[in-house]
Amino acid sequence: MTAVSTPGVEAAPYTVEEVCEHFDPVMGLEVHVELNTATKMFCGCANAFGAEPNTNICPVCLGLPGSLPRVNGAAVESAIKIGLALNCRVRERSGFARKNYFYPDMPKNFQISQYEDPIVFDGYLDVPLDDGGTWRVEIERAHMEEDTGKSLHVGGATGRIHGADYSLLDYNRSGVPLIEIVTKPIVGARDRAPMVARAYVTALRDILRGLGVSDVRMDQGSMRCDANVSLTPKGSPVFGTRTETKNVNSLRSVERAVRYEMGRQAGVLLSGGTVRQETRHFDEQSGTTSPGRAKETLADYRYFPEPDLPPLEPGSAWVESLRAGLPERPWERRARIQTEWSLSDEELRDLVNANALDLVADTVEAGAPPEAARSWWVSYLLQQANKREVTLPELSITPAQVARVIALVAEGTLTNKLARQVVDGVLEGEGDPDEVVAGRGLAVVSDESALTAAVDEALAAQPAVAEKIRAGKTKAAGAIVGAVMKATRGQADAARVQELVLERCR
């Protein structure tokens, strides 16, 4: 058996195909998502990434003696929406529980979470795979909890608490609302397991982005994945011992981490060893996992019902109204749009990659033809965004404004060239397209008598050329058209000018 090797990566000893000759992989994926609510889960502090340390804090999220939590209704709403989007059941009466353990980044030394009665449970997600197939991932539950603060361990080699000279704590993140989405064991994916894992997290990210409930930035930690992997010997009814790999901070890493763990565990098992139940850390650089603290004894979190918070009872009317307001699934929407707009796969991919799908859709919604809308966003506007080093959604022009520009072109008020100048004006903050047209005096000269006068003037100025045209050399008209366009500062419709030139020389 040979190991697959990739330069710079410590390869797992077995490829997934080799692993699957002996074992069936079983995965469980736990995804933590920070909600983008304006305030935290249990207090009124701002839920904002990147603020000065310990500025978004209060007695509640600092867990000061005497303080009490109060539930953020917007977070509950987000949790229900997520559950509905994952085809979950919504519990009529659910409650919070305390998860007790000591850690300095957790100011109460317990985390308010949900235990036996998560708000949503028993769902599934049909995940589109890269190979064109679909994989149904069953969802065990999704529950609400509060995030911890952040520790920064200064000094020492590992950046972990052991060996550090001192540690700094930032409680801005303490109490940020989190949803933890837990799958049921994913079995039967065999050698596709790493791909399924990645596809699931991708689909989940797209769904959450479509719901608008989270920034879902894996790089900023607003979406985090823990991958549980075990191997079951072929034919065995019992799951093998699992490891839980943390610190998987990109979609690609999800796939790599699962693949590596499969290979590593197979290596251990095939050489007669046993897999230790432990937490492992994924290293982005090497693509390998390394052991964290061993879970020799199962941690006893002494869960019990949170006595400071009454049960949650989202009425069915509310739940149904949230269900009715759910957006289309992102990949279904993409498929629909592709058909409706007659896009090639490549065109669709460009749109998605440029973050332009929503913008184009909104532009179409505002009345523009799909082709014109798409073309504006992925060409001229994308250039402008790149020039300004911002993303398309960050450009200071709205889909409605783009649609208006397109309409002005269609009705002949603007030429494409003028339209680009109008867009420039909008981006410069000169107002709506109509204001820019007026302000810059950019409208096409559509006054026929004025145009005719300009044409006559140009013909008179260049009698030799005029003679050629009259002699049937229509190509010579270009020079006259150019002169008229120059005279009108580009604001004439060149095609119409061409017609007029030929008319006047007939």
Binding site: P59, P65, G66, S67, L68, N100, P104, P107, I161, D308
Partner: protein, 514 residues
């Protein structure tokens, strides 16, 4: 002894509002009384001082009194208790005074926020005098578990004032404050009220905000008033009670009309009121003198027109064991935050020790024996192997107790019992016998487990030792007014009897030695 320190809060308020006396004068009289009888706040006066206070803020109190006087002089509307001094149990957060919970572990902590009840007191123009002593984190029945020395019972300085709120009740009994706030988790307002001859009320759970009350057992804790009269308690109750959005267990309903009920009760007519005597809360183990006073009280209620019946609440026998699982379980979690990382005591941080070691050393040094005992009991009761048999079973017992109350209130408007099985016991008598100590809360715990309203009103003295006895009146949830009405009627009737106890103990020996 100044006349002012023996007046009821209602009468003080009347005089202050009529500008017969200023709030500053009233406040000064109480500060002087504290100075005279309390001893140093670290308890170093030994057996000479009542030691009700852990912290007295004379400057702050006088400033608040001046502000109240100004508001009254300006003639605008002021709240019914504006200008009246009040003492605060030291487990309520205050921005201008330390909050210690009588524990070393909160050494040096100054809360950045006021408890909701404190904010409401201030807004109503009351005058906080200081912070009163308690059993550490409100865990105890004698105030002997304070890290800063015990409070003494003003009626007999060799005896305990009950607990955990012995400081609040003793301050009111001793005339150091006309009013005080306490917190009642298993009887910590009512039982000290009983043994100090004062009124103590545990309102319906959720009707007074717990925001800013340092939690002992969140599902049981309830803030309530301590006073020398039922009406005074009602007046304070109305100032601090009512819905608070900072406490999600707070009931979003109008507060029962307790002042109106106290005034109605004082007219002395209990015709048609059905009073149930709980059979399980008397008999063996109860001090004969306590039972004698209680029997007299029940007879008085009958004379006032109440219909007295016997009721049985068989599940009350589970109350004590259920309480001593639920309360420690919640406490083990609530007290986990005291870990030296952010505030309070820090022990062993020498740059070498790990975080875990510093946490352990701090908790070892900072918590007293009873707190540690309960943290250990609670941690065990919640652990995976014991949860169902201990915490889970206790919750089932709690349900049974709720059912007993529900059944009893189908035939009775209120239930009565002695507040506590004995009168004040001697300091030191039960410190080495936790089970004997726990029995002091036998009668008061059921109302905490069920969440309904209950109060203790003085019912004379025990013939065998001459010490105060309390009558407990329990009412259904959100019917606190019924308990007030019955207690006020009883109080009025008893005050006209020849054996009515003096309202303020003389404490002469103390005043002359100091």
């Amino acid at each position: 002894m100044s006349d002012m320190i023996s007046l009821d809060a209602a009468e003080l308020a009347r005089r202050i509002h009529a500008r017969e006396v200023s709030s500053v004068e009233v406040t000064r009289a109480h500060l002087q009384r504290i100075e005279a009888v309390d001893g140093p706040s670290d308890g170093s006066a030994g057996p000479d001082g009542v030691h009700a206070f852990l912290h007295v803020d004379a400057d702050g109190a006088l400033a608040a009194a001046e502000a109240a006087d100004r508001a009254i002089a300006e003639g605008g509307p002021v709240s019914p208790l504006a200008g009246v001094p009040v003492a605060l149990k030291d487990n309520l957060t205050t921005t201008d005074m330390p909050t210690t919970c009588a524990s070393r572990i909160l050494d040096g902590w100054r809360p950045p926020y006021d408890a909701t009840v404190v904010a409401r007191l201030r807004a109503a123009g009351l005058v906080p005098l200081g912070k009163t002593n308690l059993d550490e984190f409100a865990m105890g029945s004698s105030t002997e578990n304070s890290a800063f020395g015990p409070t003494r019972n003003p009626w007999d300085l060799t005896r305990v004032p009950g607990g955990s709120g012995g400081g609040s009740s003793a301050s009111v009994a001793a005339g150091e404050a006309p009013l005080a706030l306490g917190s009642d988790t298993g009887g910590s307002i009512r039982q000290p009220g009983a043994v100090t001859g004062t009124v103590g009320v545990k309102p319906t759970y959720g009707t007074v905000s717990r925001y800013g009350l340092v939690a002992f057992s969140s599902s049981l804790d309830q803030i309530g008033p301590c006073a020398r009269s039922v009406l005074d308690a009602a007046l304070l109750h109305e100032v601090v009670g009512g819905h608070d959005r900072c406490d999600q267990t707070s009931v979003n309903a109008p507060l029962p009309p307790v002042v109106e009920a106290a005034l109605a009760g004082a007219r002395g007519d209990l015709a048609g009121v059905r009073v149930g005597v709980v059979g399980e809360l008397s008999g063996e183990g109860y001090q004969p003198g306590v039972l004698a006073a209680f029997t007299d009280a029940v007879r008085t209620l009958g004379e006032l027109g109440a219909e007295v019946v016997e009721v049985s609440c068989p599940s009350f026998s589970y109350a004590l064991p259920a309480y001593y699982l639920i309360a420690p379980s919640e406490a083990s979690s609530n007290l986990a935050r005291f870990d030296a990382m952010r505030y309070g005591l820090r022990v062993g941080d020498d740059g070498e020790r790990s975080t875990d070691e510093v946490m352990s050393l701090t908790r070892e040094a900072g918590f007293g024996a009873e707190v540690k005992r309960r943290i250990m009991i609670g941690t065990h009761a919640l652990s995976a192997g014991s949860y169902d048999a201990l915490y889970g079973k206790a919750q089932k017992a709690r349900t049974l107790i709720v059912r007993d109350f529900t059944a009893a209130f189908e035939t009775c408007d209120v239930l009565v019992s002695p507040t506590t099985p004995t009168t004040a016991f001697a300091i030191g008598e039960r410190v080495d016998d936790p089970l004997a100590m726990y029995l002091a809360d036998l009668c008061t715990i059921p109302a905490n487990l069920a969440g309904n309203a209950a109060l203790s009103v003085p019912c004379g003295t025990s013939p065998d030792d001459g010490l105060p006895v309390g009558l407990q009146v329990m009412a259904p949830a959100l019917a606190d007014d019924r308990a007030y009405r019955v207690a006020a009627a009883y109080e009025t009737a008893r005050s006209s009897t020849p054996d009515a106890a003096p309202r303020i103990p003389e404490l002469r020996a103390l005043e002359t030695t100091r």
